[in-house]
Symmetry: C2
Subunit: 308 residues, 2 copies
Amino acid sequence: MKNRIVAVGSVAKDSIETPFGKVENTVGGSSVYFSLAASFFAPVAVIGVIGGDFPAGFLKKLSKRKIDVSGIEKAEGKTFLWKGRYSWDLNTAETLDTQLNVFQNFSPKIPAPLLSSKFLFLANIDPVLQMKVLNRMRKNNGCFVAGDTMNYWIENRRKALERIIPKLDALMINEMEIREFTSQYNVIKAAKSILSKGVKIVVVKKGEYGVSCFTKAGMFFLPAFPLEDAVDPTGAGDSFAGGFMGYIAKTGSVAWQSIRKAVAYGTVMSSFTVSGFGVKRLLSLRPQELKKRYGDFVKMVHFEKFKL
Amino acid sequence: MKNRIVAVGSVAKDSIETPFGKVENTVGGSSVYFSLAASFFAPVAVIGVIGGDFPAGFLKKLSKRKIDVSGIEKAEGKTFLWKGRYSWDLNTAETLDTQLNVFQNFSPKIPAPLLSSKFLFLANIDPVLQMKVLNRMRKNNGCFVAGDTMNYWIENRRKALERIIPKLDALMINEMEIREFTSQYNVIKAAKSILSKGVKIVVVKKGEYGVSCFTKAGMFFLPAFPLEDAVDPTGAGDSFAGGFMGYIAKTGSVAWQSIRKAVAYGTVMSSFTVSGFGVKRLLSLRPQELKKRYGDFVKMVHFEKFKL
């Protein structure tokens, strides 16, 4: 399993309300969205924690997808809970409730057989924990590491974030968050300042306005895949990361052309997530649908013959 | 001059303030931005009105670009004046002052030699005037007509707008405006409802987030050209329209592939406008710079081999 990805992040029970409906106590969490998305491209192993209330059947659903759940530990207490609401502008969530529960004392442990994995995704968790995992993995190998973060950590764990970000190969971050982290309104300048710290790929997520990708080789931009039936953006960013990293793991290449396609696959993947509540659409997604939409997307954004 | 474009719109004196500086009493107006942009592709004739205070030298600058100014009438009084301010979010202007002046009683007259022109751009003016011009031009020929509008007309001239929009070949409109006009939040659904009225091309402008283009043949999306030095968005929409329509007039084609390239040229053209205050950058722009940036742009948004 040369191309296996280890993903560390939350496994959650979510309650979500949008103008298009609502859902209660559905399985979510960054590492769940990520691993479902990435599993279309490469084997994935999830590191996380669940409580006694977590629906056992769901882990079986992940296993069926060849997602390794040996790193999901069961702790006493309740699963991490998130409750949020979106208004018509589906770009930003209003958090109504967060209960850390078993996540409070979560200390990620990586099962020994996974330590040799060449790809690591650090979902949006405390940067102190991200660093712990990164150090543990890098000790053994020169794995490719991508990481996500959020405004909460920028505001409450800035020092730790400033330590881990330069160690990442790829940073996935929202438009407002990169502005906040760098104190730079212009996103190109903000991304360049992150690249100058040694990060190789900076991916700036802009919700329905798509994504910007910055490397030393150049800049790359894609709109979101257009949706008439967007109903719930929860997990869109993690699904993007899953498609992105999945494609990179599958090809084993971080050449500029490979990164560009990875951004496109991430974009297409997240569009499916947004078409259903929670992970519903990701669970029903078939590889042929993914392939078809990727092909449709090419025709929606290209206008010239292309040779890099 | 088979491919000449007639543009009807405002010629103005603008005072503009942004976080990056300010400029007072500079020449602006929708038909000025449009014609400067379009002149890189095709001959343009401007229909408009100026007052006694208008700098005579500026008309010569337009003429030097082979822009026909025979349709710009001089009236007694002052030129149309606009004063506006942008904050860090350069996407929306706050109007501080508008003085219609000679524009108040403007009734567009098209010089006889221009009546056979095959391309007509109706910039953002009263839809009643737009209709008058459209009828006059269509009486003589089957010209291709593109039109722009704004929230003011949606709110104050809805009936007239509802009459003219179905007669347009191409509608250029902002994201918030198409939502407002159609009472439909989802932009794809909103655009489809405009297409169903008989409009062939709907272009939805999203400022720094780029543009979406809808036709019966399909959808097409582009991000904006990335700028580190965006200073003043005034005229970006009209410059987009100029590049877009200029390319269509130049090629004489409204095939889907031609429309897509037109959207790309419009995008690149508007990026130059935004790099300077007022029309400054458009005036200094050279064809080689345009060609270079178009080529750069292709590499920023393509990721696959492409065949429509």
